[in-house]
Symmetry: C2
């Protein structure tokens, strides 16, 4: 796949440029993408804002929803403040033994090229699944042929071990490792599975169609062949956080609303304070970036389901029905922590910014169900994802949760932290600043 | 949960009856369900057929899609010819040791009651997740509060071991076991995992929202507490079959269209001939029923992805781009098996009714991705589900596929067969005929 590396510098299809005419043999999916990519995002917003004036726009709405395409390029990577999609495929990768700096650079270029296309509803290359030489394996695996962009975002992160591991400074970037980027400390009650933890690189693929998210991870894994190898991966659904005020607060598998007090995409001040690494943060290549923490949190579903409602409310510190704090009000009322109704070790008390020197994080988690164990218990829980300006924010909150009454019903079984560089420019590639 | 058993006979909410006024404390979800359940299915059809005359209906369409509710009661169980939904949660159960006939009957009554409610967007009981006594565990687990019915169907099946196992005739129904209901024979190349095979009972939950399907299986598992235990379960997405001509043919994870020649819901003659057990079929309690075969088919994704396009086409016998048979025409053209273009062991040749004495089955499979293995290969494939009048239809086809060129890229890792009784009447319960 290395031939495509050089294209990353030229074939970037920013929204403002007219796309090149379709190459001979470009698939139906490719044509759809060229016809509808990019521009429909604004159409969808217009309709959502109540501008629709007739049945044609009414009809267009559902189609625009599915065809919504987010630009891969920009000041920040997409998939952080983007309205949370319905589905997640998250993947962690390790670089292959004996790979060098050039391998890492070309991998990031190839990934950028493919991601910039797939997020527009295009195949990974112009020839794609069916348009190339029939006597070689197709460039694209084909299961997303005919499917629209479906709001796909692809977000890349660099783990601490990418910068330096037991083999040393493999890629000549050890000196550029951000100080805060270190494997998370052990927390009380952790039961981490190495097969769901850590990794040199990560990719978060979110979309409103699971087949589109799976197609993205599968093809990016394939593109990595010989350079990086899938270490672990996780599917999720039913977003458990919201990132815009237009989204209703979804419920997690404990049946409670989750994410009521999340940082929202339109709160620029909070994003700058809590999520984006700023110009003053070091190293420079992380400007406009963030740090991603992933925690796979297994829930003891069947035990929880035998807890009486009043106790469930007490544990969470909110009322299950509406999500209102037990001190009164509605879902969006500020909890009154002087009220005895909120238990000293209720989840809402321990996790709330007011009880944590104002620390906030942007949560972007998903529910997961991985079948069941031999005892017939569901292997299910929350795949927690959070973005913050410094992993120290997560660490402080997680330490504070050590006495959380909810801990009786959960175990953290997976963990990882990655530096998420800022967005890339058309013509460049994700993380390019690391190699300047 | 046994108190609700008796209600199954009275609280059935058929479409033609006005629903009872909401009980005190009925949740928002319950209210939505009562206001919009049942009736919206016909609204959605009307709009889909082009009757919309203004923006109100245009807007109503997307909402009606999500609120679409299928009746649990009817001549046949829903979830067989129902337009295939986007998501699957399939579960297999074993009865608990020392359960008796009464336990099985009350379990089926309780399941019927809950299924008839959940398919209308209601909680499992009138008190639900938040409306009951706060000093007991809630009836409903709550994660679907606020979500519409989402086209949920719940389909029940009885495995051979329910009728008789090593412990004997536990429920006094051994003499009523249908002759064709026997564990499937071993097939060449099978690599079955007992943790993904067989089971006394099965439930297929399909919905357009995975959270709704997962909620259904979780709550039905909970209702079964002490009587039946989850044996294995499987999530799936991206339906790989279509059951109406309005649905586009989706693609499986080999990137090919799958289900082009499926039996469609409007082909009553083919359904009577190939899918529904008829009045002449024995035993009598299976009238209007069918037999369900599940096969978890693992795909060697990475190996397949290295096969050249021409060879992929040859293996399938169709062209990857459009799904046309290699003998020519378009997706819906009949393959010409006299043409040399279709390999003697191409999948389409071996599986086609014309090559199998006219044998047909109704397929209803889903793609699955269960993460990846330690080598970094995706644990992914097709969760094949088929309905047929007699499991012998599947057995004949599967034996014919023993020389399928596709076998190099797949392994059947899970298997099961269940008798799916006909639909139940309001006031009765699924499988009641077994206990007359």
């Amino acid at each position: 796949m290395n031939e495509s590396s050089k294209d990353a510098a030229v074939d970037s299809a920013p929204e403002s440029e007219a796309p090149a005419p379709p190459a001979a043999g470009l698939s139906r999916r490719g044509l759809l993408g060229l016809a509808f990519g990019g521009g429909v995002a604004s159409l969808a917003v217009g309709v959502g804002a109540g501008l629709s004036g007739g049945v044609a726009l009414g009809r267009a709405r559902a189609e625009a929803d599915a065809r919504r395409a987010y630009d891969f390029f920009g000041a920040h990577q997409a998939g952080i403040t983007t309205p949370v999609q319905e589905h997640l495929h998250f993947a962690s990768y390790d670089m292959m033994p004996r790979t060098d700096r050039e391998d890492l650079i070309t991998l990031l270029q190839d990934w950028t090229y493919a991601a910039s296309r797939m997020t527009q509803g295009l195949e990974v290359s112009a020839t794609g699944a069916v348009g190339g030489d029939a006597e070689v394996p197709p460039d694209d695996t084909g299961e997303a042929l005919g499917l629209p962009a479906s709001g796909l975002t692809i977000t890349f992160g660099f783990g601490p071990s990418l910068f330096e591991n037991e083999e040393g400074d493999r890629y000549g970037i050890a000196s550029l490792r951000p100080g805060p980027l270190e494997r998370l400390p052990a927390f009380l009650g952790d039961g981490l599975d190495p097969q769901a933890s850590h990794g040199d690189l990560c990719i978060q693929a979110c979309a409103d169609d699971p087949q589109v998210a799976v197609h993205a991870i599968r093809n990016l894994s394939r593109i990595a062949f010989g350079r990086a190898k899938l270490r672990w991966s996780q599917l999720g659904f039913g977003k458990t956080s919201r990132t815009t005020s237009a989204q209703a607060t979804p419920r997690n598998l404990f049946g409670f609303k989750d994410g009521t007090a999340n940082i929202l995409a339109d709160d620029a001040a909070a994003l700058d304070e809590h999520v984006w690494t700023g110009a003053s943060d070091r190293p420079e290549w992380m400007a406009g970036g963030s740090y991603l923490v992933a925690r796979k949190i297994a829930m003891r579903i069947e035990t929880w389901d035998r807890v009486r409602l009043s106790e469930q409310n007490t544990i969470v510190g909110r009322d299950k029905s509406e999500g209102a704090p037990l001190s009164g009000g509605d879902e969006f009322s500020a909890p009154d922590f002087s009220a005895a109704a909120i238990d000293p070790n209720a989840h809402v008390r321990l996790a709330h910014p007011e009880q944590n020197d104002g620390i906030r994080i942007l949560r972007r988690g998903f529910n997961y169900v991985d079948g069941n164990n031999a005892l017939g218990r569901l292997d299910a829980g929350l795949f927690f994802l959070s973005y913050q300006r410094d992993p120290a924010q997560f660490i402080a909150l997680q330490r504070r949760l050590s006495t959380d009454r909810m801990n009786e019903y959960i175990t953290h079984v997976g963990s990882g932290v990655w530096a998420v560089p800022g967005g890339s420019r058309p013509g460049s590639f994700v993380g390019a600043g690391l190699f300047d």
